[in-house]
């Protein structure tokens, strides 16, 4: 399929308003949607705003929605569409729009700050850390995250309910809590921080109804729901809903 003209609809505008604009653009073999957006920029709309960086699926900058699905522009090949198809590209719809395809993703940076950082073990100096591969595997999977925020965008908890943004950290940052809780040397517990409990109480884990859209959109293929969110829910259960633990804490509280 070398060389044809594709129909594009690209959302243009800003917070005041905007709409889908039509473009006819040349498409060549092997191209991805970001190439087409760049071609529109270079030939038809030089001020078309789009955020991008590495163009190799490693930085997670060019997140947008293509035909209504959250995707990376640089990892969506044109060959998945038929030449007749009209391709609609819009900015992420869970975040405030800045201009054209660029949104204000500040929500995510705010949430990142609310997750307490890694707590280094007190007795170990740099260079003395010993960790087994099987103990770091789980957290390493979560650290593959490129922070494209597609999971944050697709998650209906905030996408469809702006008011939940204060209470809910979103899949990416609940996964960060899981990552730290599974880190073999994180000393949060020793420092008096219970990540399992705060996941529920402060980061809104209970809002997640495990409908798995985060996992579906993850360009890194991280099993966010099965490997991070559900295990985190189970860990919270250990703390909060296990009747024996609950009874124990009641008795202890009464006797003290």
């Amino acid at each position: 399929m070398s060389g044809y003209t594709a129909q594009f609809k690209v959302w243009r505008g800003d917070v005041q308003g905007g709409g889908l604009e039509d473009f006819k653009v040349e498409v060549n073999e092997g191209e991805v949607v970001l190439d087409i957006i760049h071609r529109i920029q270079a030939t038809q709309a030089p001020d078309l705003a789009v955020r991008w960086n590495c163009k190799a699926g490693k930085c997670g900058s060019c997140s947008a929605e293509i035909n209504g699905r959250p995707r990376l522009l640089c990892m969506t090949r044109m060959s998945v569409f038929t030449p007749e198809e009209t391709i609609t590209v819009t900015p992420l719809r869970a975040f405030p729009v800045v201009r054209d395809l660029v949104t204000d993703v500040g929500f995510n940076y705010t949430k990142a700050r609310e997750v307490p950082a890694f707590v280094p073990p007190e007795k170990l100096a740099a260079g003395e850390y010993r960790m087994m591969q099987e103990d770091v595997d789980r957290s390493q999977e979560f650290r593959k995250c490129i922070e494209c925020f597609l999971c944050q965008d697709t998650c209906h908890v905030v996408r469809d309910h702006e008011e939940n943004k204060t209470a809910f950290a979103g899949p990416r940052f609940l996964m960060r809590v899981a990552e730290l809780d599974m880190h073999p040397l994180d000393a949060a517990a020793e420092a008096g921080l219970d990540r399992k409990q705060t996941a529920q109480d402060e980061h809104g884990l209970g809002y997640c109804n495990i409908t798995k859209c985060c996992t579906e959109v993850c360009p890194e293929g991280i099993k966010i729901t099965d490997n991070a969110l559900i295990p985190l829910k189970e860990r919270a259960v250990d703390r909060k809903y296990d009747p024996l633990v609950w009874l124990g804490s009641k008795i202890r509280r009464r006797s003290s």
Partner: protein, 644 residues
């Protein structure tokens, strides 16, 4: 009259890649109020693209490794043109910098006994690269990002404000370093999102903006790599060092066209991948240069045995330093033995089971599957050279990372020159970022504190001039009515990339470089008419028009220095002077702006904007020279250096 917003900081770091973030962490931990400015979102810097690993002589996998061996490898890789003190500091401090990342939460791949695993890489005598699969850069950037957040959380607990002592200005671009006399007084920047100008007043500025790859057509670099830091330093009066040395990574993707240049990590070869030409031959055995003859395997059998038993066999020539491999691939393609899309074959599919490939090279598997529809466990990849790294950069003092001649200006990472000499070894970049990022942050903080209350003031006129310069593209039409209609910045950029790629690329010839200088002069004239549509809010056309100034400046440096150096060494290959010349070993080439006050007016192709000068390198300290055999030194050093 300037009404732009101003804020005061102790240290301003330009760039939020590995070097910038490490500098910011260090400056903040030493008590300086620190601001970081970056063009992209926080955490998206080009460092995420680094795949292979961080070179540090920890000796976890082979206990024979130590800093002296690492130093030796680095000097050999750089063909002895390295600023040797930097190479020394780098080799000594890298392990500590890696271990410290673990205390900030980094999770490297492990050895059986629970230490950081290390892998083989081109030019490194022992397995030395700490890594996380093939996404080490991402781990590095995320760890530093999260350390910054940790510091901000600390500040929040103490002051109630996350950004009281350490703030990241993301999606902002610095267009000018402001000065008071010779000293730095701050930076002038604009916010990409809103287009608003602002000034950060600070006595110390660390430049950590990375490289210049976007001046070339085929590159593994992202859009940010427009040589901003190089240009800012030049415009501030600091010299650039050895800009002719540009590394072409031997293995970039060559097909499909839209991904041409994207990197294929060297780990593919480190883990057993081999290069073959269209005849199926492992051609690298024909390209082992004399200086490396004793270090590399002479037969395929020996090379293959090395993966299992590195102590009794020599490594395969696929793991020669990058410049050698890139040139070899180039020659094979020229000789008509290339692959269908103009590269050569890189094959792991016949060397390892598919399972192992997917585990050890997950993002490569992913990248080829998604972007080229190639299953690397079943068929070979097609690869060819791609512009990857610039060894040249801002001339700095080795110990302090201070830029020469401009008090208050510091530089670290790719933008700084000297460390890698004429060619960088894979894995030495990430360690360079950490070692010299830290040093830059440390000395910038010290310098700022040392000034006490006597800080250089920001000059209003400079702010106004900078604002006018930044707004120029919006009024391009009215400027030179005789010059014709405004130029499209995208077109200019494409022409610049084509020029540099074709005329100052991997193999260079005198006539072509002269032609390039003329072309650059024309582009410079046309760039003054680069006009943009729309308004200042997130306008990529405008951003590119502003970046063009930097790319043109840097490209001229590369072309002029390349024309001057009449030998081939590392990342600089002259067809008309194909051999390395010992006489050039002790020679540094320095680029300076011809006229730092109004440099942009220069359009004469012969004179240009850049002044080139030579200087002699510092003699290498005798105890460091003693680390090498005499026979080896004879190949590199000039006669008089040997018998000093």
């Amino acid at each position: 009259m300037s009404v732009v917003d101003r804020q005061e900081w102790d240290v301003v770091v330009v760039g939020a890649g590995g070097a910038g973030l490490r500098a910011a962490i260090e400056a903040r931990e030493r008590g300086a109020r620190t601001a970081v400015i970056c063009k992209s979102l926080f955490g998206k810097a080009h460092t995420v693209m680094a795949e292979g690993g961080i070179a540090a002589a920890m000796g976890n996998v082979n206990s024979g490794d130590n800093w002296q061996v690492h130093f030796r490898d680095t000097m050999r890789g750089g063909k002895f043109l390295n600023q040797w003190r930097m190479a020394e500091l780098h080799a000594q401090e890298a392990p500590q910098r890696v271990w410290e990342l673990e205390t900030w939460g980094a999770l490297f791949d492990r050895t059986k006994d629970g230490r950081i695993s290390q892998r083989n890489f081109g030019g490194h005598e022992y397995p030395r690269l700490a890594h996380v699969g093939d996404r080490t850069g991402l781990e590095l950037i995320r760890t530093l990002q999260q350390k910054i957040v940790a510091l901000q959380q600390e500040d929040h607990r103490e002051t109630g404000d996350y950004e009281s002592r350490l703030k990241v200005y993301q999606e902002c671009t610095v267009t000018r370093i402001l000065k008071d006399g010779s000293r730095v007084s701050g930076v002038f920047a604009y916010d990409r999102e809103t287009g608003r100008f602002f000034v950060l007043e600070a006595p110390a500025v660390v430049i950590a903006t990375g490289g210049i790859g976007k001046s070339f057509k085929v590159t593994s670099n992202s859009w940010e790599y427009t040589g901003d830091g190089h240009a800012l330093a030049l415009l501030a009066g600091a010299p650039l060092l050895n800009m002719e040395f540009v590394q072409f990574h031997p293995t970039g993707m060559v097909w499909p066209p839209s991904v041409k240049g994207i990197l294929v990590t060297e780990s593919v070869r480190g883990d057993g991948g081999v290069l073959r030409n269209s005849e199926g031959k492992r051609f690298m055995f024909d390209y082992i240069p004399d200086v490396f003859k004793e270090k590399y395997a002479q037969s395929e059998d020996e090379g293959d045995r090395w993966y299992e038993d590195p102590d009794h066999n020599r490594r395969p020539p696929e793991l020669l330093p990058r410049d050698e491999v890139a040139r070899a691939i180039n020659s094979e393609v020229k000789a008509g033995r290339g692959s269908p899309h103009g590269g050569v074959f890189l094959d792991v599919s016949t060397r390892m089971p598919g399972e192992v490939i997917r585990r050890r090279l997950p993002s490569m598997y992913h990248q080829f599957k998604e972007l080229a529809d190639v299953d690397i466990t079943a068929e070979p990849m097609e690869v060819g050279p791609t512009c990857h790294y610039v060894m040249g950069g801002i001339a700095v003092e080795s110990d302090t990372a201070a830029a020469r001649g401009v008090p208050g200006l510091f530089a670290a990472g790719e933008v700084a020159g000297g460390m890698h000499g004429s060619n960088r070894l894979g894995g030495n970049s990430l360690s360079d970022l950490l070692v010299f990022g830290r040093r830059a942050g440390w000395h910038a903080a010290d310098y700022a504190t040392g000034l006490g209350p006597h800080r250089p003031p920001v000059d209003d006129t400079q702010v106004d001039t900078a604002a006018a310069e930044a707004l120029r593209p919006f009024s391009a039409e009215g400027l030179e009515p005789a010059g014709g209609p405004p130029e499209n910045p995208y077109t200019l950029h494409q022409e610049l990339q084509q020029t540099m790629n074709d005329l100052v690329g991997i193999i260079r010839r005198e006539a072509e470089m002269r032609q390039a200088l003329e072309k650059l002069a024309q582009l410079r004239v046309r760039a003054r008419r680069a006009g943009v549509e729309g308004h200042r809010q997130f306008n990529p056309g405008w951003h590119l028009a502003l970046d063009l100034r930097n790319m043109l400046l840097v490209s001229e440096c590369v072309a002029r220095a390349a024309l001057e150096r009449t030998e081939s060494r590392g990342g600089h290959t002259r067809e008309d002077h194909p051999a390395m010349d010992r006489k050039w070993r002790p020679v540094n080439l320095l680029c300076r702006l011809t006229d730092p006050t109004e440099g942009l007016a220069a359009t004469d192709p012969v004179r240009g904007q850049i002044d080139l000068s030579r200087e002699s390198t510092d003699p290498i300290r005798p105890d460091l020279l003693a680390l090498f055999d005499k026979e080896e030194l004879v190949k590199y050093l000039a006669e008089e250096e040997l018998y000093e």
